[in-house]
């Protein structure tokens, strides 16, 4: 089963995402900021990274940049969880190498649909 790394500094958001994804049969690991996520990504191999944008220590945009420099994550789908409406963060994320985005607030079904789409 595909393995997903869920990154968000909000514990409730992480719980919700994890619960939803595990319920759909995915393997999930959590990280609370970009740096943690990067460390986990280096240790394990993930089929998809789902990351919040605004986080302490290392934000989601920087995380994407860092991940794309790693050979293992060159082509891995990375989705941003963003509430930015103006679009600038989406663009910033894309330029950093993010695959796409899921707009907050989202419900579990929307999350699953998008993820299934990406993971085929």
């Amino acid at each position: 089963m595909p393995k997903i790394l869920a990154v968000d500094d909000s514990a409730s958001m992480r719980q919700m995402v994890t619960f939803t994804l595990k319920g759909a049969g995915f393997e999930v690991e959590e990280a609370a900021d970009g740096q943690q996520a990067l460390n986990k990504a280096k240790q394990g191999s993930f089929d998809l990274v789902l990351s919040d944008v605004n986080m302490p220590v290392m934000d989601g945009i920087q995380l994407v940049r860092e991940l794309r420099t790693l050979a293992d994550y060159k082509f891995t789908p990375i989705l941003m969880l963003t509430t930015e409406s103006a679009g600038d963060k989406k663009m910033e994320g894309k330029q950093a190498g993010a695959t796409g985005w899921i707009v907050k607030p989202f419900n579990p079904d929307q999350l699953l649909n998008t993820i299934k789409k990406v993971l085929g």
Binding site: F75, T83, S85, G100, K104, P105, D109, Q110, K117
Partner: protein
């Protein structure tokens, strides 16, 4: 798949309250003239997380309100708006407001929104004011104008209504950016999605593929001509949503049946014109959802209602008052965050306990007297393990006192502004740990004491300068461990207590007589006396009709004490001493006749055998012990608690000198037994309140022993001074 989101609400509330605390802390640190961008970032992140969570978990009112807060913060963060002092005030007030809204939501009540609406108006006024490049996003009615896929699809599908019914197809030319693969976007995935919409055919355009030696393996050089017989325009757009900006893309609707010609020719000729059409189309699509958003709150509400049917069912039928009471007292599972190191040490401890247990088990399986020493060792080990385990478990409930301290910077800031005083607040020992229950209950008395220092202690700047002090006063909150207690001090460098006024007021109230000779400490003590706090003392700040006597009573309920030291002109120090935990008490077991009582070890000063030459009789009935320079009244526990003692004569028993509320009393008992930790069981819950008794515990032999409430005993002893005998106090 439908998931009940309410299961995440508790965590959401907790982290939101934490977020609000950190927003408040950050805001208090903000100096408009000179601030750290990271502070703004922290505040922004907290607001942002609350908004995101609130939207997701269905608290639309919170999301709406936080949106304007976040917008202002974002502008400040981005540098498009200069931070003003008024912004900080507004933000602080909105933090308070949000806290109340969230509390109401957590309690299951309808939040009171009038203040929020008022504040929201103020935010909008600020945001509408000069100098924002992002005025569009400050339109507060437009909450997070994000595209909600379904709604957007409904709204904009008119132009292609019935696409599937009518004979026709989408002719698509798609040339992704060469870097598309490096963003994890895979054209094959998109094609698979298109395939799901209807009959799908594609033809790769390979004319841009370079010579082999110039080919970069990670780049995408291909373009495609595609036909899809089905799907709405929205659905097709959504497939390309993430790559549309970097790609050459044209999508057009063709009536009829797709032919090979569509795949072959359409591209280069029509690409330019259709690409422009596409851009226009897309911009339309992006704008439309803004209208759709006005419906969003309803749909979110509907969702939460269906997702949490249980609470909804019971609520409407109940009368409002009872519902409120129920929700307050209902065991809303409060949780506590525990450091992983504490859990680890606990697990370690349990491991040791298991080893000891299995050792004893083996020993017991074939025991003979030769193994007695090992048995004793094993039991000693068990005792050691149990105590350590108990301490570790207790430590789980311990939180740093910074949780309580953190509310004071705000309080001091607001009040000193209100009173035109300049005050620095210094916090010391913030990491000192304290039981969560004690922590919750000590907050209010501390607030009262700090208000008191602000109001009565610290002088106005001009008075301070006249007195040769620095213009800015200092209030220090200090916490540290001492013995088995936590000590919290509230220290101010204000004018100190005015002893003459206290004394004259106390005489006026009949608390003391003019002839009493009182030490300075005793005079200061009077402020804690019930009946001292008077109407003329009440001010907005510290009055509130609550006197120092209430502060003292609240602290005593926690088995704690409060004392004041003060020097006129120099300042006052209030010292609160509290037990680290309410659940366990270090006790001294004493025997009176057949009964065993427990005295809190912390209150015991000394125990002694009575030398009758040290006993004086006062007024015929009351005996006092002359202990060095003090006279200590003697209370016979058997009289107080109506039990049959072994000894009625003082010289045959023991006196235990205990202290509470700065006064001492000698308790007459038959014998001193062991010292041990006892688990406190409430008498109120299991029986009823008994004067002079604070609780009960179960001893090793299964007997119940009562825990003596030292301050209660003192109170009774004082009454007895007047009434001579305990009258009809009925012991349990």
């Amino acid at each position: 798949m439908s998931i009940d989101l309410s299961q995440f609400h508790q965590v959401f509330f907790e982290e939101s309250f934490e977020g609000l605390d950190s927003m408040e802390g950050g805001l208090l640190d903000l100096n408009p003239d000179d601030f750290d961008v990271e502070t703004i970032n922290t505040i922004f992140r907290a607001a942002h997380s609350i908004k995101g969570g609130a939207g997701t978990f269905g608290f639309q009112v919170v999301a709406d309100f936080t949106h304007v807060v976040e917008t202002l913060l974002d502008e400040i963060r981005a540098g498009s708006r200069a931070l003003e002092a008024s912004h900080v005030d507004l933000l602080l007030r909105s933090v308070d407001c949000l806290r109340e809204i969230m509390q109401a939501l957590q309690d299951g009540d309808e939040p009171e929104m009038s203040l929020a609406n008022d504040l929201q108006g103020q935010f909008e006024a600020v945001l509408a004011g000069e100098a924002s490049s992002e005025s569009s996003s400050s339109d507060a009615s437009v909450l997070s104008p994000d595209v909600q896929p379904e709604q957007a699809a409904e709204e904009s599908s008119d132009d292609v209504d019935g696409a599937e019914e009518s004979k026709g197809y989408w002719a698509i030319y798609f040339k992704p950016d060469a870097d598309v693969l490096r963003t994890g976007n895979e054209p094959v995935r998109m094609f698979r999605e298109l395939e799901a919409l209807g009959e799908f055919r594609s033809q790769a355009v390979v004319c841009d593929v370079p010579e082999f030696n110039q080919l970069e393996p990670e780049a995408c050089y291909l373009a495609w001509n595609i036909t899809v017989a089905g799907g709405t325009r929205e659905e097709v757009d959504e497939v390309f949503e993430w790559v549309i900006d970097e790609s050459e893309l044209s999508i057009r609707w063709v009536d009829g049946v797709p032919s090979e010609a569509d795949l072959g020719e359409s591209e280069p000729v029509s690409a330019d014109t259709t690409a422009q059409e596409t851009v226009e189309d897309v911009s339309e699509v992006v704008e439309e959802p803004v209208e759709a958003i006005t419906e969003a709150p309803e749909s979110v509400d509907a969702q939460t209602q269906t997702s949490q049917p249980q609470p909804e069912e019971t609520k409407p039928s109940e009368p409002k008052a009872s519902k409120k009471a129920a929700s307050k007292s209902s065991p809303e599972t409060t949780s506590i965050r525990v450091g992983i190191d504490k859990i680890d040490s606990l697990i370690n401890m349990v491991g040791e306990l298991v080893i000891t247990q299995s050792m004893l088990g083996q020993l017991g399986a074939n025991f003979d007297m030769n193994k007695l020493v090992r048995l004793q060792e094993g039991l000693a080990q068990l005792e050691h393990n149990t105590r350590e385990l108990q301490e570790s478990v207790m430590r789980i409930r311990m939180l740093p006192i910074s949780f309580t301290f953190s509310r004071f910077p705000r309080l001091v800031r607001d009040l000193s502004k209100l009173m035109d005083k300049k005050i620095d607040l210094v916090l010391l020992g913030e990491n000192t740990e304290l039981d969560k229950t004690v922590m919750e209950k000590i907050g209010d008395p501390m607030v009262h004491l700090v208000r008191n220092s602000l109001d009565h202690g610290i002088e106005k700047p001009e008075e301070r300068i006249a007195a040769g002090k620095p213009e800015t006063g200092t209030i220090t909150l200090n916490a540290f461990h001492q013995g088995g207690n936590i000590v919290i001090q509230i220290i101010d460098d204000g004018k100190g207590l005015n002893k003459e006024r206290i004394l004259s007021k106390a005489i006026e109230r009949g608390l003391v007589s003019e002839h009493d000779r009182l030490s300075d400490d005793q005079i200061n003590e009077l402020i804690f006396h019930a009946g001292f706090s008077t109407a003329e003392q009440i001010s907005d700040i510290s009055g509130r009709g609550v006197g120092m006597d209430v502060v003292r009573r609240n602290i005593q309920e926690l088995n704690g004490t409060v004392e004041v030291e003060s020097t006129e002109g120099v300042g006052s120090t209030f010292t609160i001493r509290l037990p680290l935990t309410l659940a366990i008490l270090d006790g001294q077991l004493v025997r009176v006749g057949e009964e065993v009582f427990i005295l809190p070890l912390v209150s015991i000063i000394e125990s002694l055998q009575v030398d009758m030459s040290m006993i004086n009789n006062v007024g015929g009935q009351n005996e006092v012990l002359r202990l060095r320079d003090e006279y200590v009244p003697i209370v016979k526990l058997h009289e107080l608690l109506h039990v049959e003692p072994d000894n009625y004569e003082l010289e045959n028993g023991l006196l235990v000198v205990v202290e509470a509320d700065s006064s001492k009393v000698g308790l007459f008992v038959d014998d001193l037994l062991a010292q041990q930790q006892v688990v406190i069981k409430s008498l109120e819950q299991n029986y009823q309140k008994v004067d002079g008794i604070s609780g009960a515990t179960i001893l090793g032999d299964g007997k119940v022993a009562l825990i003596v409430d030292i301050s209660g005993v003192l109170k009774i002893a004082n009454q007895n001074k007047v009434r001579t005998l305990p009258g009809d106090h009925q012991a349990a």
